[in-house]
Symmetry: C2
Subunit: 391 residues, 2 copies
């Protein structure tokens, strides 16, 4: 497997395009193939946005020929009118493509509790549709169009050893603690994979990637990951899963690194847990903890907050068996060894915290299960961005 250029348009059969005007953006992705196969996962928030309701429904009976996604308005908590608006979005794209509205996936991101501005969407659709193409630039315009508070575009593509390609774009920066869903992620492959397997592979990949990212612990109403296979190449399930995992984990790390106001990526690796769920709980608690996040922002060597987070995470923990290390690309420091404090390491810890990517490794010392989660530091800018989001 190797990383390749080209984003989602590196996948055979994918055309894309996008536009961003101020806070409003529109992205379109089309799968040019006689037989696409699609799968999706959606937020577990009980307040679920209108576009997710209709896309989830569409996926039950149909494959997605195309996806339309707007940024600026989440079309969430908008009742019956929101449903009609989301159906309208599917309808106007279906009309252009000459397919059924039930073959269009719809996604939205932005402010909750506001109605969609249909005039803006309609105007942008004309422009984006006329420019749809399979070039790298078109894929990038598409990835750019779904950004909100994101500061970096998130796209990745890989080519497996058998020539199959898997690629995806994502957006996500705040209101991030996906639960069985994700922020917006649109994934494409030219592999030929039956819908049922595609669905299983997507769930597995999402569990290891987007579901292990926390920016602020707020689960969005609009999280969605869609995966479409254009089916131009044969591919074994295992190899495909590996490629998909790699793409999803890369996008998940990009989301964490671009967390609102973030200056550092935090990777929490928990091992030695009694169960996989325990490992996941502990890893996510560490990257969710505002106290761990602020300490890393301030290079404050307050490592006790990490063990406190593991302790309240719900995971089985015995404080006399915990070991704790911090590292970055260059150095590693052990703070706790099987429950015993290793003294005189605080200055070294400060140095590690100054790096751009910080790895926190907790060995619970009780079993052999492990999990990794990603997050970011909590900074003045997170507060600034979110204190003035709608205004």
């Amino acid at each position: 497997m190797k990383r390749i250029e080209g984003g989602i348009c590196a996948v055979r059969g994918v055309r894309a395009g996008g536009i961003k005007q101020g806070k409003n953006g529109l992205a379109i992705m089309v799968a040019d193939t006689p037989g696409p196969a699609s799968a999706g996962v959606f937020t577990r928030n009980r307040v679920i946005a209108a576009p997710l309701i209709i896309t989830r429904q569409a996926l039950k009976k149909n494959e997605l020929k195309a996806v339309i996604a707007n940024s600026g308005c989440a079309n969430a908590f908008t009742g019956e009118r929101g449903i009609l608006d989301a159906q309208w979005m599917a309808g106007i794209l279906a009309e252009r493509l000459g397919c059924k509205p039930e073959e269009i996936g719809v996604a939205s991101t932005g402010v909750i509790g506001r109605y969609l501005d249909k005039a803006v969407v309609a105007g942008q659709l004309d422009e984006v549709f006329s420019r749809l193409s399979d070039t790298e630039e078109a894929g990038r315009a598409c990835a750019h169009a779904i950004m909100t508070t994101d500061t970096a575009m998130k796209e990745v593509a890989v080519e497996l050893d058998n020539g199959v390609r898997v690629a995806g774009i994502a957006k996500g920066s705040g209101m991030i603690e996906p639960k069985m869903g994700t922020m917006l992620a649109f994934l494409y492959t030219d592999a030929k994979i039956p819908k049922k397997i595609l669905d299983i592979c997507l769930r597995r990949a999402v569990d290891k990637s987007f579901n292990m990212v926390v920016v602020d612990g707020d689960t969005s109403t609009n999280d969605m990951a869609l995966l479409t296979a254009t089916g131009y190449r044969d591919c074994g399930e295992e190899e495909f899963q590996e490629g998909l995992d790699s793409v999803c984990i890369s996008l998940a790390r990009m989301i964490a690194k671009d967390g609102e106001g973030a200056t550092r990526l935090i990777e929490a690796r928990v091992k030695g847990a009694l169960t996989e769920n325990d490992a996941r709980l502990a890893a996510k608690a560490i990257v969710r903890s505002p106290l761990v996040k602020t300490a890393i922002y301030g290079k404050d060597p307050n490592w006790g907050r990490v063990v406190a987070a593991a302790g309240y995470s719900g995971a089985e923990v015995d404080q006399d068996r915990i070991s704790l290390k911090f590292s970055n690309d260059n150095e590693e420091v052990t703070l706790v060894d099987s429950g015993r404090i290793v003294e005189g390491k605080l200055e070294a810890l400060k140095g590690i915290m100054a790096g751009g990517e910080i790895v926190i490794e907790v060995d619970i010392g009780l079993g052999d299960h492990e999990a990794t989660a990603w997050g970011c530091d909590l900074t003045y800018d997170y507060v600034k961005i979110n204190a003035m989001y709608t205004t």
Copy 2:
């Protein structure tokens, strides 16, 4: 029931004292009575501090004649040495009082993963012990000594209609999402209440008060609430419970209002829930949400974040039945009425958000259970305080 002056020393039989020198403080409370009765609740964090381990043990067989509490070092994650240090604290006070070390409650708050500075504690003990008294000032010195990042002292006293008094002090500003425990709270009453009933009453009161406060969602390793009855007055259980609830809720509100960096108190009242647990989950999710907290700090009328938090809280929610109001002492504004957005209210909402105490009322519309939780806004100063805590 009426509020009275005097803090914990308003309760007959209570002597107190305290000292604070830089980051290090020491507080002592003594129950002068032949027959005290005591109860305690403790953090549910699996990483539990040494003083809590020995105090929990002491309470199983003994009543507490006195409590000693230090600030500056949490004596948490300190292994066997931490246990010995906590026992030493109990021992030096027991010696002065001529009682058993098992009759002393020990509490600590401060940095996790550092050993106790016994020389500092011993020196402060001499001074505090010589000044122990039952005056209002002594109670205040005691409340002051347990503060860390707190900016306000937290004490409250009430007198019931039957003359019984209930009073308490508390500390707590960050690492606050008590689970079945609380930040440090020391409660006293002159009521004569059997230990068993005292324990039940304390658990009930804590569930309605400290367990409904969130500052940052981090559950401390050192949360503890201790209640001691000096037994000088007869009192019915129901009347006592009412007084205890009132004292605990007042202290809980003070903790929320004095959350690290906070400029506003947020009260989330959830009603119409299917179960009490659902109401509690939804109310706590709202005051825990960094996005709700930053919006209120910035007076950003982004109320959609409140319904999103209720949606992911785990509570049963039907988005078509939710109603949402914001209010303060002067005004009230309805944003959502049974799932329908009430438009044109954003300016009014901004005005309400500018107040010092903001009430968010969510009616889930599914049942008749309710709960109230308290929190505070998330500000630049929270980040500042916690990015430089140990340095």
